[in-house]
Symmetry: C2
Subunit: 330 residues, 2 copies
């Protein structure tokens, strides 16, 4: 495999099979509290799966720079725990009913317990990270979680109205790209990389994360509920304008089209304008295409950022991930 | 003053006046986020006041051991921020309308924003603590916040039913005494104290915290709303059995009295049994007296733990604080 480009998710997951298994075991052990309800909720969340893309990035970053110590496993679990904690609190805030095709934790345990379970998971992530005894990593994690929490608040304040592309980019950076960036940076810090190298790995993560979230938002508009495992167009139903919608509003759509989009954002439902009508507006303005092109550009920027990494299977995997992210269907 | 026992709150606050002012400034600066809603909420919470007893303990611990560096101010703000963060999330969980005589933050900003503001305050506390570059202190803070969060969940699971005195003690340790203990321990760590000394300072804090919470719970039963600045008997209204109530249930009360207490705990209101009837039951069983005696014993244990501290105004202040805590009327 080492002389060819990596061509499938299976090859990447095979390459990291043992590391990812170790991270699952670490996460499993970390999710246990002396308080039963916390263990129940965090096990439920852990078993809900997810793509484990953040730990995967951390592993690829560290391994591509020659690191292979246990801290990689520990911190892989940490970034997934931080991600999980944000999901619990976000689901409370969005009053979400489902997550990853199952009832969301707040539906099962109620908001109060989930506030506390989310708090506990954040703390547990820091506790495990603290075991690595590395201030730089703690700085990255704390800075990150604050950016994410602030982002969620900014998003709340912008619900129900059209936002600019800049505002959108800031929101998705905070929501997704920031943790992708930090996962890559932590891998570099563990490997004792130079600041420049850490920066470049961070650039890769940030661009990959932007691509990931843009595609996520496009899929929310265009995919079917069976494929997605959650209700479609949930962003519009929550009053969130995402990139394709912003493009349609800002570029070439008619006054009637703009009014239709504003109606849905304000109503936060499809009672006066249907989902199909919105899709037709986006199609007429090539807005989904525009958003996907942005995602492709971010994927390219991610690949460029690591062009000068020493050659290895891990580098090849990193070069492949952006394709996976933009081509996925859910 | 140095040859006499300290006899008033004023003397203690005079002794620490500059330090406490510096902590207010630090807290004020730390409570500022680039996201306006967070700054608003955290300033509202900060300005709500509170006794600042946790920073005061940290200062007295550090100063009584000869420390006087800036980290004392920084970490004084940190323990108050952790305390504030727990209050925000607790008020959401208890659906509290008032806090310290004002509308609670969740009443003003809604639950969602307050979940996030609480998250942000926790993170900010860790971020500021991280500046001290001391792993031991971070270990203490993370362990602490997890104990507190777990305690809140345990309490939720025990609402509406009689709990044992052991369960009560565990709950109030997690709710209050744990942070008092950690505040004292951090002071000792800053001063470079031995493990034994840190342990003894922690013992002081733990016992003081137990006394503090027992008295708090007694006042909730016996004080008037004007004095307390919040509705009285809120514990019973939330289905929480506190020490005096547990005593009445376990010691000598008649079957009818026990039934009356169970009724209030189950109903979580005074529609079938009045607050006055509960107070009469507690009086007949000397239950408030019992709880206050427990508080006095904890106050004594706190003083004993620091008996061998070198003599100083700070030690004398520490010897005085337990009296203040058990004698307060709100």
């Amino acid at each position: 495999m080492s002389t060819l480009a990596i061509a499938s998710a299976k090859e990447v997951f095979d390459l990291l099979h043992d590391d990812l298994e170790a991270i699952e075991r670490e996460f499993g052990a970390d999710a246990v509290s002396s308080v039963e309800a916390i263990t129940e909720i965090s096990c439920y969340l852990r078993q809900g799966g997810g793509k484990r893309i953040r730990p995967l990035l951390l592993l690829l970053s560290a391994r591509s720079l020659g690191f292979s110590g246990h801290d990689m496993v520990r911190l892989g679990a940490v970034v997934e725990m931080v991600h999980t904690a944000t999901l619990v609190h976000d689901d409370i805030i969005d009053a979400a009913d489902t997550r990853r095709g199952r009832p969301s934790a707040n539906t099962t345990w109620g908001n109060s317990k989930c506030v506390l379970a989310g708090d506990w998971l954040y703390m547990q992530a820091f506790r495990v990270a603290l075991e690595a005894r590395n201030f730089r990593i703690l700085d990255l994690l704390i800075g990150l979680t604050q950016q994410m929490v602030e982002g969620e608040l900014l998003q709340m304040e912008r619900l129900g109205r059209a936002i600019s592309a800049d505002e959108y980019n800031d929101l998705i950076y905070r929501k997704t790209a920031c943790l992708f960036e930090v996962s890559m940076r932590i891998g570099a810090v563990l490997a004792g990389a130079s600041e420049d190298r850490e920066q470049a790995m961070g650039e890769y993560g940030r661009n990959l994360g932007m691509a990931f979230q843009i595609v996520d938002d496009v899929l929310d508009l265009t995919a079917s509920e069976e494929v997605l495992g959650k209700p479609v167009a949930s962003d519009l139903r929550e009053g969130k304008a995402t990139l394709a919608v912003i493009h349609a509003l800002e570029n070439g759509s008619t006054a009637a089209e703009r009014a239709a989009i504003h109606t849905v954002l304000t109503d936060q439902d499809f009672s006066r304008v249907t989902h199909d009508e919105i899709l037709a507006i986006l199609r007429r303005n090539h807005s989904v295409e525009f958003a996907m092109n942005e995602a492709f550009a971010c994927a390219d920027a991610a690949r460029s950022a690591i062009a000068d990494l020493p050659d290895s299977d891990y580098k090849r995997a990193l070069l492949w991930v952006p394709d996976f992210v933009v081509a996925r269907e859910k």
